[in-house]
Amino acid sequence: MRRFLLLLRALAGVLTVVAALGGALSRASLASPAMPIQAGPEGCLQCHVGIESMHPWHELSCTACHGGDAKAVRKEQAHVRPHVAPPHDERLLPRDFDPAWVQFKNPSDLRIVTGTCGACHTASCEDLFKSLHCTTAGHLSDGLYENGLTKERRTRYSIFAVKDGDGRIGRNGFAEFPAFPASDDRARSGELAGHVADLGRKSCMQCHLWSNGTAVRGRLGQDGNYRGSGCSVCHVTYAEDGLSRSDDPTVDRFEPGHPERHAMVKAPPTQTCVRCHFGDASIGLNFRGLAQLVPGMPAGPEVAGTTHALQNGVFYSNDPKVTPPDVHHERGMHCVDCHTVRDVMGDGELYGFMEHAVEIECTDCHGSFDEVSRMTTSRGRKLDHLHAKDGLIWLESKVDGKRHYIPQATHVIDPARPEFNAKAARAMTPKHARLECYTCHAGWNANFLGFHFDRNESFSQLDIISGERTSGRCSTQEKVFATYRQFYVGWNDEGMVAPYLVGFSTMGSVHGRDGALSIDQALPVTASGKSGMTMVHHQLHSTRGQARGCVECHRSPATLGLGSPSFGLAREVAAILDVRGVHLVAVDREALDGSTPLASVPLSGGVAVAARCDDLQGRFETLYVALQGAGIAVIDARKPAFPEVIAFIDCDDPRDVLVRGEMLFVADGRGGVKLFDVADPRRPRLLVRLPTKEARSLDLAWPHLYVADGAAGIKIFDVATPGKVDLAGHLDLNGDPGYDDDAHAVKVMFQYSRPDDGFGERSTARKLAVIAGGLQGYFLFDVTEVGEPERLFPPGGTPIPRTTTASPPESTNRVLDVQVLSRFDLGSPGGDIPTEEHDYALFAVQPLEETMTPGALAIVRITDPEAPKSVAATPMPDGAFRLATAAWYQPPFLRRYALVAGRNATAVVETSASDKPALVGTLFGEALRVRDVVVEEFPLDRMVDEAGKTLKDISHEGSRYFDLAEITRLLHVPLAAEDRLGFRFEEGGR
């Protein structure tokens, strides 16, 4: 399974192999006096006339490598015949499988390589056996840990058992790895974990040097996947279509799966590395400016911004404005121009993770803030292809010999140098010494939050390790959420801040032998009892000269792990608050109209409901119901068929509730805002009361609480320390202190920068407050600096209705509620409409006269908040008073909905197409005068909560998410106005 291919991530740095292998081969060949093979003409060439020399650095005979009988005159006698019929599929051959035949087919196959390549390149081969490319150890570790199958955050298994064997265990090294175990189909079959091992054995075991991958010889439709095995994976080039261009007349030129020529390369080009590195970690894609498609995204020759031909069986996005290539690729460099032979072929240690295996660092070539490059790797090994001249550092490509100037970080921040860049100098300071360079310089990344695999026991599938067809067919290419813009960071195991992407983090469904669904979108849980929907650090390989802006870390709580509004996976139960009470409903994702009512809690005067969901499955734990004029009813909803009121909190005039972490925020109307500690929901404890004019609604973007304060606009409190809450900002919506605002609701989102704003510059990142302004319409404010808010829409000078001087006609609309999210809009199949990622605000709009008139759901594109665009407005015959959004995954696509509280029902509007919302029914037909609705939700990008609790596990030992104290400190770092912009690296004309 491709997710398991996280190995690709683990192997991220490793692409390089061959450069060094080439060098090593060459050096070793010349140096080895014991070389048992000799070059010379053989009978083979009578048929294979014109065949290229595989090893031109030291000519070798055909049989020296391939075996066989060079003197035979007939093919059948000359060639080695298999003792048993070999399989013609991707199953993993045993290590002792018919060595003579294996050697004949591929002399560099790892099963026999010790006697062929290894005869001369002995040390390299020994190292290679222990490299990640052979063990695929990192690849196997994440999914096992995240599903609780291993207890330690490190690799336990290799594709074949392997021992270090040299008597030395270096830093981060292991003594041995046992072979990947067979899955017991019956053990733990009732759990998701019981099926993950099978997934690994059936979908993830081709990604290593023991295998040819999925593109076995003769298999069609594998363009981009064809490769060899063993040494030849890297050192023998395959064409995109897998067809031979050899001069050897005997080669079948129409059968895919042959090397392009019978020739080795010392240093493989990028084209070779990406035969494997195109999976979910996508470094081989990012590097080239390609991205996996968003589910459902049209692509193909006629669709601009996508590849024109299938690669790896799929099309890719390749829009240079959205997914520009890594600057190194852009300049013509290859993977191995950065990565060393040890990165790729190992250094003799058994490593579990890529970050331990890779020795190259950005600073090895670009130097540090303090000094120019020492031209050595981080482990002190000399980089032979780097040269200094006139105080500048140059790189000579291992692949094509091209020379590249290497900018030095210290020059960029030196005002005396022509390369000086003032903005860069502001960023590249000792305070940022613990950031990986690629944290800020990662231009973009494709991030698919939430994966889904399905195992169907009514079918069988080849177990790649055992070679048997066993019960259970695993399908894995099911992405849930997608983003190219979202950005996350955390600590890597070196104590450096690095970008984070989703880990293996796969939810799963299982169909039993009868085909019936037996496990439904279960989420993994690790052995430590935390969620297995993890993230982990990555070198994204989308490096750009222009860095991200400071605010993308220092003003975005989502970046640091507190979650965003866009990636909540809706689960199984909804709570609908109507005039009679709270109704718990089991949602049928496939037929929302047919959802099943479970229980009701009679409550009088409910106006708003908020839910605390559990950290592992996103299921209701506690509901907090605001009862107008009375208080907050606390409901234990862990058993949704048997809810129970467990506490009541006296308030004055509650209008809205928000629960985050262990804090409950109550918009208490004229009573202000109240903060409660609800660590024990049975015993809520008032922490602080904040004065407001008429608190109506709330949103939290840590550390700031945004309060829609009616006539007083938006008040912003810093609630990082409940005992010391400060008023941090205020938004005067209409801009005229003499007249009342009409703030009903507020939501806050962070808009990340994009690589190209249309003018060749990185776009501006900002924190955006979206406000439902009642009679005055809606407002968009830049609240990146809450003390210096800027109204972006309506633009300055726009007259705002003054609600206090006259009562408008009853037909006048009021904007009552708002929700925000980021999402992809799929383009048209013909390509006329491009697929784009946008930010949206959904508004509940209701005329003044509530009794009879219909309301509307308005959808506004706010990607450019200075020029928002209304894309749809759906009439809501039953009125539109409050809004919730829900994203249910119905394989293979995520379906998005707006749930609109109306007079007599919760209307369900499908918003999967932003510009074509469709009223599809009601969620709970028994409701009457619906006040609010909340759906169980699992936030996929929320790793830490506001109580400081780490919500999700991490599969790499030594790595961790930011803790709350760090997050709070980072979000409070003062920034000058110029720091809000991105940094462009100038090369000083070279």
Binding site: G190, S604, R638, S807
Partner: protein
């Protein structure tokens, strides 16, 4: 005349006026009424155009924006019509809330001229507030002090939303409904201890107290007291009721609040019979088979003696909802009558909003809900079946307060 009596009188006048106008001009009546009050012709009735009391203006000004619009007058006239039918001021007071114990000068004069929002607006800044106080004093209400006035404004702020809610509920049609929706349904089952088919005395008191005692501490806090449609000035009411000053209103201290009883007790016999509890079709009790929507299934589930008809005994749990379909009055439902019941039930929509889970889904009355009785998805059933025995029983409902275990072991799917 008290302010609220004035309000009722005003509404009564409005109510008398509008039905007549309605008969003449249909939906145009409200516009006509508006036009008669809208002296400056701007389409709204301002406070200066209103000749009635300030309190009535506040009552009618549902959105409290200081203007009366056509729809507000329409709603008010409907409410007024109801007030005419049931002129008991206490009922109205229940619906819209009771007056607080405000200082007398404010009660007498200020609200007669100023709607509450205007007072609030004046209080927004010091200058406006001083002006308001000065004007109050000019009305020779020397006894009102600035401190009093501030207290009044605070009270107004506190009550504004609640009054608006009460008015909205009042104006939109069902003064009993807002509270009746949480006191109807299966409460007769739950609280009628002596099984005499009615709630009286202690049963009724317990129902009312328990419905508000959300934290189950046997005492009503001020906020819980506010859940009852009694407590407009909940602090004053709380102080009045909490006679032992122990910080909560006990069952005994609360008793049976007369205004609440009056909401339902149509025949004024101090007890609530089945017919007096809200009888909206939405709260008609258990008829869960409509969720399955198949008369045959319903028959299979309920027909314990397999005689192809449902006897009175078999329908004992559904006497009201199903026996009304007993067309031949033989005290049992034959398949045809059951089909009619299911069809009718389907048309009516699900009824058992407040039935608990077992009442709703335990169709065969065996005390558990089997998979075939539950209409939801397999995954939903499995989630509820915590002990994994394939049926939902009281064991699955117990321990609601114990933490649900989401460990892998606990998440095991049960076939």
């Amino acid at each position: 005349m008290s302010r609220w009596a004035q309000a009722v009188s005003s509404l009564a006048v409005v109510a008398l006026f509008v039905p007549l106008a309605s008969a003449q001009a249909g939906s145009g009546a409200a516009k006509q009424f508006l036009a008669s009050l809208d002296l400056d012709g701007n389409g709204y009735v301002g406070r200066d155009e209103w000749s009635g009391s300030g309190a009535t203006f506040v009552l009618l000004d549902v959105d409290l924006d200081g203007w009366l619009t056509g729809p507000e007058l329409t709603k008010s006239t409907k409410a007024g019509a109801r007030a005419v039918e049931a002129p008991d001021p206490s009922r109205l007071a229940v619906a819209i809330g009771d007056l607080p114990d405000l200082v007398e000068p404010f009660r007498r004069s200020c609200l007669a001229c100023h709607d509450q929002q205007r007072v609030e607006r004046a209080a927004k800044d010091a200058k406006g507030w001083s002006e308001t106080v000065r004007k109050m004093r000019e009305k020779k209400e020397a006894s009102i002090t600035e401190k009093d006035a501030r207290a009044i404004v605070e009270w107004l702020s506190d009550q504004r939303a609640r009054v608006a809610l009460s008015l909205a509920s009042f104006g939109t049609g069902d003064p009993v409904g807002a509270w009746g929706m949480v006191i109807g349904g299966g409460d007769l089952h739950l609280f009628d201890r002596d099984r005499n088919g009615k709630l009286e005395g202690g049963e009724l008191a317990r129902l009312i107290h328990q419905r508000a005692d959300l934290d189950r501490d046997q005492l009503l806090s001020p906020g819980e007291l506010a859940l009852l449609p009694l407590a407009v000035d909940r602090r004053a009411l709380f102080q009045k009721l909490d006679r032992d000053k122990n910080g909560g209103v006990s069952l005994k201290e609360l008793g049976i609040p007369a205004p609440l009883l009056q909401l339902f007790d149509r025949n004024a016999d101090q007890q609530l019979e089945r017919g007096e509890l809200p009888s909206s079709r939405r709260y008609g009790g258990p008829i869960s088979m409509i969720l399955i929507g198949d008369a045959k299934t319903a028959l299979d589930l309920l027909d314990r003696d397999h005689d192809k008809s449902l006897s009175a005994a078999e329908l004992a749990r559904f006497p009201r909802t199903l026996m009304r379909f007993d067309g031949d009055n033989n005290a049992s439902l034959d398949p045809k009558e059951l089909e009619t019941a299911v069809t009718a039930g389907r048309a009516e929509g699900p009824l058992a909003a407040f039935d608990d889970f077992f009442t709703r889904y335990d169709l065969d009355g065996d005390g558990s809900v089997a998979r075939r009785e539950f209409p939801g998805r397999d995954a939903a059933f499995a989630r509820l079946d915590l002990d994994g025995d394939g049926v939902l029983t009281s064991r699955d409902a117990q321990g609601g307060m114990t933490r649900v275990d989401f460990t892998p072991e606990a998440l095991r799917w049960r076939d």
